[in-house]
């Protein structure tokens, strides 16, 4: 599996570290009660397209938001995770 980093180009999987579902970037306030527990522990875990966070640790050290099919490992999209964060979108 290779991940097309928007900064470095297509790079080998071994350069990246996986965090998980892209929804993890949307941390609720710490006083959100049950919603915070759901954020920490519950996952959609779909069999199909999955938006997820990867860190290019052995490359440009950017956080990426990658769309990948969990049934085939085919990657359809990879973008910087941070611009979206700054816009408050995700």
């Amino acid at each position: 599996m290779r991940i097309p980093c928007p900064f470095c180009g297509e790079r080998d999987l071994s350069e990246f570290i996986y965090l998980g579902d892209a929804a993890l970037a949307m941390r609720p306030p710490s006083d959100a009660g049950g919603a915070f527990g759901d954020y920490v522990y519950l996952r959609d875990n779909p069999a199909g397209p999955h938006r997820e966070l990867w860190y290019h640790a052995a490359g440009c050290r950017s956080w990426l938001r990658v769309t990948r099919d969990t049934r085939t490992h085919v990657i359809t999209e990879a973008a910087f995770a941070c611009p979206g964060l700054a816009d408050g979108q995700q």
Partner: protein, 419 residues
């Protein structure tokens, strides 16, 4: 139909008649309209659940629905290791329950599952790791489980072929559970299927669940590719696909699906006496009775339903192999494969009622499901039959995450790819 009993006499008789007299091990059942209990998933856990439901809890109107064929899922994809060398009080009695059931399994099922208590040896490579092993061994012994802490010479006596001169990760000792070992995984599926079928359980293969039938707020049955089946209670034992099946009922669970690869080499003469694990990386190896070296390591580490992994983990596993046993560089790999794991958020399983009436969960086994098979079946059957958790599985509750009562053997937190 009751299948034949295996004995020295039946074997001799069959041998003298050209082995033409053996019958099928289980009936090819057609789905009925209704059962008291329907188990989704005809893997080891589902079949064991059905077996113990009929044998121990008197629930006889039971079906197991399987989307593929018996033995084609994770029960045939694991590395066949059984052990009960856990640290936490929530885990030890459960896995020891499993170990005791393994010890009596072949007599119980009248089936040769090749249960071989050849020992499981975890190697340690630093003083800190030896201290942690001493703690784990003491926890095991306090629960009545066998454990021995070996020094370097003790390890050398058992496995003189290991690399004791490795400068970076010297072997300083090991934790040995002599009662651990290996079990022929296919035979476990076949044996439980045969035992359950003989007791009247309908095992329905090529029958995929495509939805749930509801009766008000209650789950009242399953819609399958072979028609609707109504049930008093429905138990899910679907290994890596728990989230996908639960999503049909509208549930989100504390689980990610990950792919774990395993490997087997060409067959060689007897070399490795038991199961050996490398403590400085993640690598474990044993030798099958056929002679192949069976080994594996870490999960790939990203969500996957693909049943195949990628090369970085293959490389990592081989590095572990070379660090432990440099002679393995000369052996050829026969095949590798992947299985999909239910990685839970604390590395421990869930055997519990779901928030929906009528639906019960048996999931989150991470990559330790095979060793748990008999106890998982027993405890899930107990839950389905009595609506109360079995004492040895009482901690495996779904709400433990919300309560902060996680069972985190490795202390990694809510990061499933690190468990």
């Amino acid at each position: 139909m009751t299948s034949q009993r295996f004995s020295i006499f039946s074997l001799a008789k069959a041998a003298l008649t050209g082995h033409r007299t053996w019958t099928d091990h289980w009936r090819k059942a057609e789905p009925k309209d209704r059962y008291d209990v329907v188990i989704i998933g005809g893997g080891g856990h589902g079949l064991a659940t059905a077996y113990y439901l009929t044998k121990e809890f008197g629930v006889t109107n039971v079906a197991v629905v399987e989307k593929g064929w018996i033995g084609g899922g994770n029960v045939g994809r694991n590395t066949t290791i059984v052990r009960s060398n856990y640290l936490l009080a929530a885990n030890i009695p459960f896995y020891e329950h499993a170990m005791k059931l393994w010890e009596g399994l072949e007599k119980e099922l009248n089936f040769n599952a090749m249960v071989s208590q050849r020992g499981v040896l975890n190697l340690c490579h630093s003083d800190a790791q030896r201290d942690a092993f001493a703690r784990r061994g003491n926890a095991m012994r306090m629960h009545g489980v066998d454990a021995e802490l070996l020094d370097r010479d003790g390890v050398r006596a058992l496995a003189p072929f290991l690399d004791f001169n490795e400068a970076r990760f010297p072997i300083v000792g090991g934790l040995l559970q002599r009662r651990g070992g290996t079990v022929r995984h296919d035979a476990v599926a076949w044996g439980y299927a045969r035992g359950a079928s003989d007791r009247g359980v309908d095992i329905i293969e090529s029958c995929e669940v495509i939805g749930f039938l509801r009766d008000g707020g209650r789950i009242a049955g399953v819609a399958t590719t072979r028609g609707d089946i109504r049930a008093g209670k429905i138990g899910m034992a679907v290994a890596g696909h728990t989230s996908a099946v639960a999503a049909m009922a509208g549930l989100r669970l504390p689980i990610e699906s990950h792919v774990l690869q395993a490997f087997v080499s060409e067959a060689i003469k007897p070399l490795i006496p038991g199961v050996i694990t490398f403590g400085a990386g993640h690598f474990y190896i044993s030798q099958s009775d056929k002679g192949g070296l069976v080994f594996g390591g870490d999960i790939d580490g990203y969500n996957s339903y693909a049943q195949r992994g990628n090369l970085p983990v293959v490389e990592d596993v081989c590095e572990g192999a070379m660090a432990l046993m440099p002679m393995l560089g000369r052996i050829r790999l026969l095949r590798s494969w992947g299985g999909v794991m239910d990685m839970s958020m604390d590395g421990s399983p869930i055997i519990d009622r779901s928030p929906l009436d009528g639906l019960y969960l048996n999931c989150g086994w991470c990559y330790g499901g095979f060793k748990a098979t008999p106890a998982s079946g027993w405890c899930f059957a107990h839950l389905l039959a009595t609506d109360a958790p079995h004492p040895t599985a009482a901690a495996f509750r779904l709400d433990r995450f919300a309560r902060g009562a996680v069972i985190d053997e490795k202390g990694q937190g809510a990061q499933p790819n690190l468990h």
